[in-house]
Symmetry: C2
Subunit: 406 residues, 2 copies
């Protein structure tokens, strides 16, 4: 029922809906709790049984093969960025639910079907991102994830507890595959006039969190020569970062950002003594992102030291490019072709739960166009026709995998 | 009783005491509440009656002239910066209490004596600073002050309510003068081997709060050319600020800072769309600080615009240099001389409640040395001998003014 899907997406967009038409549904917030409860309700109404694991991942299972212990996972995430769009994540969960319910009604499957809502894909308040899916694959322990703290010092575990979504047991069924439908968050499909993207690989990323350390002092009387101003150093380092990366980008394909900064003690009258900045460098190849990061760190070292400022690396995460299951790409392109939808194999620059899941099971990531490539913005938009096309492809791919031999 | 004063300072330093020997006693916090309750108790034990006004200013009055409606105010503030020292503010309140109690015991005064603890001198969480004293002089309305919000959106009024220090009525007595004893927070007395400073005037300051406005977008896929990165612009502007002011400082005496920055939406994966920076420029002459500020704004305009970033002036406060009461300076120097303490008339670079009070009544500000000029730092230090010298001078000046004709 295509109209039912669009209607369901609209209803979820009302939870944490922001004035500009987007959503603010931060992991562990009251809005996250409300969206989770609605998801459980919608899944149960369609005949699924909902399981919540220790880090809050939600698994809504249709017992389409009650005798089997195997399941095909399909889903995405219901959390958002502070200025998130209404389709980022929610679309994949709800189209997954729509497809699984339809296939359960059709019957004749070899495996069960499980629709998943992964905890904290976005990593807006709790870093690292892809938290729930990375615990599921065994990359992180549940304790590590539950202990992550936001800037107010609240733990992810306490937030999940508060909203009633900290479960006790891991999900018991044996996963065979993972499928995820998502909006592109870029403009490649739109620019090429295509409707469907089958993701082959992801870009790599190096994410460096640097803390610049100085000495607190009164901003008035402290003689200028005696100041050890961590914000001055951090601002200079950010400026250098953009200058250097822009120069590097003349030679090689790069995306980069310094998007988050926290200064302490956070008073206009005290010279900042600790300033933390989150830097990201992305390239298809991790070796390139790594080398650029190393050159950046080497380049700023002397300038920061000359300001009398120390430097601590609080985090340095190398995220390799991931190759997704080639069969999933082939099947996606076949299904799209059968539906008459122009499609392409493509890379993704963004992180997605499917990239985490590939470490555990063959995983497939399907994109639909984003108008203007706009993302993590309230005005993020995918047109209804594209939403329905993507849902149809997802259903076709899910049907194929739910019928294959284990 | 000098030892009683040092002991009292120690006990107050235990409220919000920080590991490094300083204090963290933010306006409206539980620690502020505890320090206020202890102050009321100490004042009442010495025979004062405590009044709390609508913005939380505390007035502890010794009825040394019960028939008169006049009083001499003496005090400072009990709030601190997040990384505050133990003497900044608390010293002036407690030495004031010590002096007023001693004079009340001596008797023979023409006026009452009132020890004041002004609300939110520091302005660490609620800007502007000097809040309570500026309401008292009529510069700000109580509603304006009570409505000030911290970065979590909590109002000063609600915080005062929570700690039980939001009073109902203005302080009824007629103030004749205001006296304040404070640690220097600079190194001039120390460098010159002097014990007492009588402040004549303050430096002027221009305080500009700028918000850089961009567009939220995903830090991964968003094409670099389409990004409107407010943090990139802010970092560049801070770097330019220091470069320009350093050049200006070759010609003219200047202190400057950019100490506080807040970036939104505060996620490592969303290009920052609103970044607010607090800039300060200080010079003895407001015309100079003003002109430097204007040149700074003109200089960064094109560079910020070239990055596609908007700029909003959220605050632009000109704080003129204030000339304090010359008689107070003369009396302070006389009293110091009589006590055999080498003293000087001097300027202050920092803001103080006495500078606000001068708009209402003749005000006097007395400094004692700060070791190394260190301030707004846990390691801020004034030696016991200097603390006692300052207290003796304060008592002498207070006695003189409490005996003069109204």
């Amino acid at each position: 029922m295509p109209d039912a899907l669009l209607d369901m997406i609209d209803r979820f967009a009302g939870i944490g809906g922001s004035p500009g038409g987007g959503v603010r549904r931060l992991t562990g917030s009251a809005e996250d709790g409300a969206a989770r409860r609605l998801f459980a309700q919608e899944a149960e109404q369609r005949g699924a049984v909902v399981h919540v694991d220790p880090v809050g991942n939600m698994f809504a299972t249709f017992a389409t093969a009650p005798a089997a212990d195997t399941t095909v996972l399909v889903g995405s995430h219901l959390d958002s960025q502070p200025t998130g769009g209404r389709f980022d994540g929610a679309y994949g969960v709800l189209a997954g639910l729509d497809a699984a319910a339809a296939l359960a009604a059709e019957g004749g499957l070899r495996h069960n079907l499980t629709v998943v809502n992964w905890t904290n894909e976005e990593g807006a308040c709790f870093q690292p991102s892809l938290t729930g899916s990375s615990v599921y694959t065994g990359k992180y322990t549940p304790d590590f994830a539950l202990g992550l703290a936001d800037r107010m010092g609240r733990s992810l575990g306490a937030c999940l507890e508060d909203i009633g979504f900290r479960g006790a047991e891991p999900f018991p069924l044996r996963p065979l595959r993972y499928l995820e439908l998502h909006v592109e968050q870029g403009a490649e499909l739109e620019d090429k006039g295509l409707r469907i993207g089958a993701v082959t690989t992801s870009w790599a990323a190096r994410k460096i969190t640097l803390c610049f350390t100085g000495v607190p002092a009164h901003t008035g009387p402290t003689p200028m020569g005696r100041r050890r101003d961590a914000l001055r150093a951090a601002a200079w380092a950010i400026t250098e970062f953009h200058r250097l990366l822009e120069a590097e980008a003349a030679e090689v394909l790069l995306h980069w950002s310094a998007a988050k900064i926290v200064a302490e003690p956070d008073s206009p009258n005290v010279v900042a003594s600790r300033v933390t900045v989150w830097f990201e460098i992305r390239n298809p190849d991790l070796a390139v992102a790594d080398a650029v990061g190393a050159r950046f760190l080497a380049a700023i070292g002397p300038g920061v030291a000359a300001l009398g400022i120390g430097q601590e690396v609080l985090g340095d995460e190398a995220r390799a490019g991931t190759a997704l299951d080639p069969e999933g790409v082939a099947v996606t392109l076949e299904v799209a072709q059968a539906l008459g939808l122009p499609a392409t194999a493509m890379r993704t620059i963004t992180g997605h739960d499917a990239l985490a899941l590939q470490a555990l099971v063959p995983s497939t990531l399907i994109f639909v166009p984003s108008v203007d490539g706009l993302s993590h913005n309230e005005a993020e938009l995918t047109l209804p026709e594209d939403l329905l096309n993507g849902a149809a492809v997802l259903r076709g791919v899910l049907r194929r995998f739910a019928m294959e031999a284990a």
